[in-house]
């Protein structure tokens, strides 16, 4: 059992939890992830580590309420326990040689892009930070973004805050205006990472993306997370989660991520009915 030390809601959908997991906190490195299970009937889901504190023995996760598991997780309070919490899994980020980076976070992806930007900033790299949201109500970490970057930009799909449009619009204009990035790090929905990778391919800028596919164990056992990278099948859990965005077959990854869409909707609906006492299961 893993105690929730702190809970903070950035907005109606995005929640931060600091979880007591001393051994994981001690070994964690940027870019790695954990797997958790909320209760006995629960499924195992991967979440990228947003932050960790070896001294305090805590690991921070940030998640968005999208389905049954994240809803159940969001219903836990400070002082409650998460049943299972495993990690740190996957390989860690490689920041070697990065001097001038654009870091891009799309929606919840910002939660993971932020520690990347922070790590680069602390290593003395120059960081331009771009975050995209559907609308202004979903914005979070705005001040933190500023504190770890030379320039920071917000985009919203509907124009309710920042630049109206997509993160790629801002990235493109920055590149066109002469920004010389040696690396672009893009973390967010698959369609966003695909769009960023397609754009940076034109300019020949190395691009790293972080994948978060469906998986069971997170240790290379199930192969559910397989993804085609440069024509080869990789397991995102052990070979990733970070990959060269120019080599990832995003269309396949998008199709695979939707494999259980119907089941997930069914499960979430059932859960909602149960919570509201309309169904006894």
């Amino acid at each position: 059992m893993y105690k929730i030390i702190k809970k903070h809601a950035f907005n109606a959908q995005v929640i931060l939890m600091e979880v007591e997991a001393p051994r994981i906190a001690k070994s964690a490195k940027p870019g790695q992830f954990i797997m958790l299970r909320v209760d006995e009937q629960g499924e195992r889901i991967p979440l990228t580590i947003a932050d960790y504190n070896a001294q305090a023995g805590t690991v921070t996760i940030i998640f968005q309420i999208v389905g049954k598991t994240t809803t159940a997780l969001s219903n836990l309070s400070q002082g409650d326990f998460i049943l299972d919490f495993v990690g740190p899994l996957g390989t860690s980020s490689d920041f070697e040689g990065i001097k001038n980076a654009a870091v891009i976070g799309g929606g919840l992806g910002l939660a993971i892009a932020y520690p990347q930007a922070k790590a680069l900033h602390e290593r003395g790299a120059s960081v331009d930070f771009i975050a995209g949201f559907r609308n202004k109500d979903l914005i979070f970490l705005r001040d933190e973004m500023k504190s770890v970057s030379a320039r920071s930009f917000i985009t919203t799909d509907d124009g309710s805050a920042g630049v109206k449009g997509f993160v790629t619009d801002v990235l493109k204009s920055l590149i066109e205006k002469g920004a010389k990035y040696d690396t672009v790090i893009a973390i967010g929905p698959l369609v966003m990472m695909k769009a960023v990778s397609e754009l940076t391919r034109e300019y020949g800028i190395k691009t790293t993306v972080s994948l978060n596919p469906i998986m069971i164990d997170g240790t290379g056992m199930c192969g559910g997370c397989r993804v085609t990278v440069g024509g080869q099948t990789k397991f995102a859990c052990v070979d990733g989660p970070e990959f060269d965005g120019h080599l990832v077959d995003f269309d396949e990854a998008i199709a695979r991520s939707a494999m259980y869409k119907k089941d997930e909707a069914h499960s979430a609906k059932q859960h909602k009915c149960k919570m509201e006492g309309r169904l006894d299961v």
């Binding site: 994981i24 299970r37 195992r44 049954k68 192969g223 085609t228 494999m259 069914h266 499960s267 059932q270």
Partner: protein, 466 residues
């Protein structure tokens, strides 16, 4: 009175048309009368070929003699002198290629049903005897076991009996390894595995689940920082193989590992009561001829598939699965496509729509002793399928290897050890599928026990030298 019947006493089973719709155990087990009658088929040969045929040398004629007398408790004690998981082994051991293969009764007729008797004894004991387990006095020396499958459980049990303070580190949220995530409920009820694990806990073994050694903590840190005198690696063969044919990453293609883990470990067959979903098609093609392939096929049938195919490139005689599983699978309506090899998986809208195969023919024996299959040119044909499950084998998981640089391994991933399980790294031992590649429960247990003895010896030496 000696039982002259050339055939084994038949095992009671659930009817095929009934059991292929539920996950309850297929074979329901001998009654006392059946067991005693079957025991009377044993010739009690002086040269005891069956004992030599058992990887852990269970004293087979002696325990059978006790069964014959109705002395089941004593029979259990004889088995557990050398085999700590009889309820498991009685169910999943490939007896026909071990003890029963060399049984003298098998020369004319069927062998004695040794596996069935072992299972009967273990079940009888669990049901009738309140086992008193005394915790041995602790010697104050800590031992670490990585992985809680058959190898790890056997190793931990033996070490605990010797008085060591044993901790098992398990990556999953429950202990049991392949016995929990791999072998389905209808072949090995999970309650049995849980009971065996509870016995270990009563012996004082501690189990830390959710602990991925190599990631959460290194083997070096277990020894230097956490004070473990020696470490046993029993991490199994969990890395699923794929065929590397086009279409393998389509939606609807599973590794057998994933398919079975969703069902067995995550209870996906009870979705949506349990949150983990599983896709089961109407026409499911399972590729492979081992126990894992049979398990996957039979699970798919139970979950409502109309037609389930086993696609295997060699002949039925070459199939590595236990005879009983092949037999049960056929009874349950699984369609066998032998001498058939997939060449690509076809898709429509990102989902599996069929599997293209070629016919195979068998040539001369290869290095495994089985006749080598080769493709018949121009024999391509398509099996309509909306799901494909790859059950063509597993290899050792590279997690430990990649985080323990001085641990020597074979190119294919297996950890290199001597017969006693000593690795190239002092104080580090290994056994089971992590060393041999995918093999059997009983071999893994044997390796775990051998390593426990070597670890005991190592600890004694280390303590003397201090």
């Amino acid at each position: 009175m000696f039982n002259l019947d050339p055939k084994k006493t038949e095992m009671p089973v659930q009817a095929p048309g009934e059991r292929n719709k539920n996950f309850k155990e297929v074979a329901t087990g001998y009654t006392e009368e059946m067991a005693m009658s079957e025991a009377r088929r044993c010739l009690a040969c002086k040269h005891r070929p069956c004992v030599a045929g058992c990887p852990v040398s269970v004293n087979i004629p002696d325990f059978i003699k006790e069964v014959e007398k109705g002395n089941f408790e004593r029979a259990y004690e004889i088995i557990t002198d050398t085999n700590s998981l009889p309820a498991v082994c009685g169910r999943v051991c490939p007896q026909e290629s071990q003890c029963e293969k060399v049984c003298v009764r098998a020369i004319k007729g069927e062998s004695v049903g040794i596996g069935r008797l072992e299972r009967f004894v273990a079940d009888w004991y669990m049901k009738n005897i309140e086992e008193k387990i005394e915790k041995p006095a602790l010697n104050g020396i800590k031992m670490a076991v990585i992985g809680s499958g058959p190898a790890g459980l056997a190793c931990a049990g033996d070490l605990a009996k010797l008085g060591y303070d044993v901790t098992i580190f398990e990556a999953f949220h429950v202990a049991g390894g392949v016995l929990m995530y791999g072998i389905p409920q209808f072949r090995l009820p999970k309650e049995i595995v849980r009971k065996e694990i509870d016995r270990l806990k009563k012996l004082g073994v501690k189990i830390e689940t959710n602990s991925v050694v190599g990631k959460m903590i290194s083997i070096d840190a277990l020894i230097s920082e956490e004070g473990f005198k020696a470490v046993f690696i029993g991490t199994g063969a969990g890395l699923p193989s794929f065929m590397k044919i086009p279409g393998e990453n389509l939606c609807g293609v599973y590794s057998a590992n994933e398919f079975l883990t969703r069902i067995n470990l995550m209870n996906a067959y009870k979705f949506p009561k349990y949150d983990t979903p599983i896709k089961v098609g109407k026409r499911v093609a399972v590729v492979g001829g081992g126990n894992v392939a049979m398990d996957a096929a039979r699970c798919a049938k139970r979950l409502g598939a109309d037609e389930v195919y086993i696609i295997y490139r060699r002949g039925e005689e070459e199939m590595p699965a236990r005879l009983e599983e092949i037999h049960h699978a056929k009874e349950e309506g699984i369609i066998f496509k032998i001498l058939t090899n997939p060449t690509r998986i076809m898709g429509k809208d990102n989902w599996v729509s069929g599997i293209e195969c070629v016919k195979m023919e068998l040539g001369k024996p290869d290095e495994s002793g089985r006749r080598r299959p080769s493709a018949v040119e121009g024999s391509e044909f398509v099996i309509d399928a909306d799901e494909v499950i790859m059950a063509i084998g597993q290899s050792p998981n590279p997690l430990i290897k990649s985080t323990t640089p001085d641990l020597k391994t074979h190119n294919w991933g297996g950890i290199i050890t001597d017969d006693a399980g000593r690795t190239s790294k002092p104080g580090v031992f290994a056994g089971g599928d992590a060393v041999t590649g995918a093999a059997t429960v009983i071999l893994a247990m044997g390796a775990g026990k051998a390593a426990a003895a070597a670890m005991d010896e190592y600890a004694a030496l280390k303590t003397d030298n201090k």
